[in-house]
Amino acid sequence: MTALRSWEGFLFAVLILIYAFNAWNSPVFLTPGNQINMFQLSVEKIIVALVMTFVTINGEIDLSVASVMGFAACAFGWLVQAGVPGLGAVAIALAIGLMCGAFNALFIVGFGIPSLVVTLATMIAFRGFARVLVEDRGISDFPDWFDRLGQAGMIGPVPFAMILFAILAVLAVLTLQRTAFGRKVYFIGANRAVAEYSGLDVRAVKAKIFIASGVISALAGLLFAARVGAVRGDIANGFELDIITMVLLGGVSIFGGAGTMSGTILSILIVLALRNGMALVNITGHIQTGVLGILLVLSVMVPIIRQTGGRLIARVR
């Protein structure tokens, strides 16, 4: 019972319930093919959710991630079409992600404007750049190796992006929970003023996180382009909702300072299983997004629900 008291324990129980329900609802759900498919369909979002966990625990938010994904993917498509070799285009697209992150950091850290406002504006601007590059076309003549990387299995049926996610997840857990940098991320998120007076390099930590967010988002955008084998101006549009939901449902406080990477990973599994379960019973994408919206509201209400729940339990005792 004590395990259930922690948020992660609760998420784990919810996850098992959803898995059980889905397995009972559809015989296909537990097959390895469907499980891989379930991951693969959202692998880009869950990669970004890892870095968004850092951003949110640090007390900030990055609404521009989906637009950076789109910008990087469209830049890649544009470069390939212009005759740039595939690897060079990948490198430039990643560099664009780095610059997007640095641009956000300049306004957030340099000028002291809240990340909410800055990334809301760059969410529009970066998406705009993506549209400028591909206009209303679709670009799909990518190099063969690029398409294969996104679509074919690498180790058995497991594709490259999933392996990359696994590696990044391990790295993210280690960095956040086991390094001095990770402790700084929590400390700054919990109380920025105290962190500053303690002599922590608050601005450097924040800048690093936003730049990492840009690079990882660009990487995710490229993986998305490789998986669907094409880019359009609206690629990855609206993904920030899913990504932020995954992080907040994982128990990360929107005000910073609290949350764990394992919580995010558990909530990633919950969101994936929910979407997959709904898709298996033919619930359309828009409605799935609506359900995720409700889940997002519920997840920010978590502290309140816990409080009320605690009070009820105390009264019963």
């Binding site: 000028f111 209303d136 828009h286 919206g293 997002l296 920010v300």
Partner: protein
């Protein structure tokens, strides 16, 4: 003589607006004429309405990202009701649309004010939830012009009066009236001042006995109701309503509010500035399409950079005026 900061902002905005129009006039042949006004004023009317609603919310240190979905939903539901009951008295229809919008706004307001949830998260979620309500109830079918009563589809192009070649449409008159009423309410009424009080210093407002929850709730209801009225105009202007109606309007409303000089951290701003901000954004948006030098696809990029520029300029200017150290939380 010192000019008050608020007035200075409006003057700067007007100068920027005039410079923008003159710039496009020098670039596009036959740009500056009555047709330009007649064409743009209709869409400015819609954006100004939602921007004023957004301004109420932003003044209280919140944000409403669900506006685009509320516009889409009210346009759809109002259209649906009119198709079912075509004999509804015309005067009732915009009120009905405002009522529907207010219900959506109340949902946001309740969650934000009652549970102290961050408005950005709540409205990001309701943006998706309201849109999926629209998708679910429309079931893929859409409202089309030929099924709507003719008075409605003609309303958007009906003139209240004309000034020479300038056609002043009813929707423009309504929109300007709303802006003026909002301006007088916010500047001259006690209830209006509470919006500023909460935004500029929530603790002081609480000590002064202001009910923050009620004011924030009201701000979201106003935002929803004005989005509803905008939805009615949207329905009248376009007639055909699909599941993507109003998509992205929330960003334009935030843009108009921020460019119009409302402080994004709440507590200061002027809805007359918001009206100019809405006009400025719409002029840039529509003129870029006609400007041959850059592609029309620059619209979003320009909008985003414009918002960022406005916020950065405002923050740095205010910081200099207040002589505060950079890097601190505002």
């Amino acid at each position: 003589m010192r000019i008050p900061l608020g007035t200075l902002r409006i003057l700067v905005l007007l100068a920027v607006f005039a410079a923008t129009v003159l710039f496009f006039a020098s670039q596009i042949d036959g740009y500056l004429n009555a047709r330009l006004f007649n064409r743009i004023s209709g869409s400015v009317a819609v954006i100004a309405l939602i921007a004023v609603g957004q301004a109420f919310v932003v003044l209280t240190r919140n944000i409403d990202l669900s506006i685009g979905s509320v516009v889409g939903c009210t346009a759809y539901f109002t259209g649906g009701i009119l198709i079912a009951y075509p004999d509804l008295p015309p005067l009732l229809v915009p009120l009905l649309a405002m009522g529907i919008g207010a219900v959506f706004g109340a949902v946001n307001g309740f969650l934000v004010a009652r549970f102290h949830l961050p408005s950005i998260i709540v409205t990001l979620a309701s943006l998706a939830i309201f849109r999926s309500i629209l998708v679910q109830s429309s079931d893929g079918s859409s409202i089309t012009t030929d099924r709507l009563p003719t008075w409605l589809t003609e309303f958007a192009t009906t003139n209240a009066f004309t000034l020479g070649e300038l056609q002043i449409r009813w929707i423009v008159v309504i929109s300007i009236l709303v802006v003026l009423i909002a301006h007088i309410f916010l500047t001259r009424f006690r209830a209006g001042r509470t919006f500023f009080a909460i935004g500029s210093n929530p603790d002081a407002a609480a000590f002064a006995g202001i009910n923050a929850g009620r004011t924030i709730f009201l701000a979201f209801v106003i935002s929803g109701a004005l989005a509803g009225l905008a939805g009615f105009m949207f329905l009248s202007r376009f007639g055909n309503i699909t599941v993507v109606a109003g998509l992205g309007l929330e960003l334009k409303s935030v843009g108009a509010v921020v460019v119009g000089g409302v402080n994004i951290f709440g507590g200061s701003g002027n809805v007359l500035g918001v009206l100019i901000g809405a006009a400025l954004i719409d002029v840039i948006d529509t003129s870029l399409v006609r400007w041959e030098v850059v592609s029309a696809f620059w619209r979003e990029a320009v909008l985003g950079l414009l918002i960022l520029l406005a916020v950065a300029a405002d923050t740095l200017l205010m910081r200099r005026l207040l002589n505060r150290k950079p890097g601190g939380t505002p």
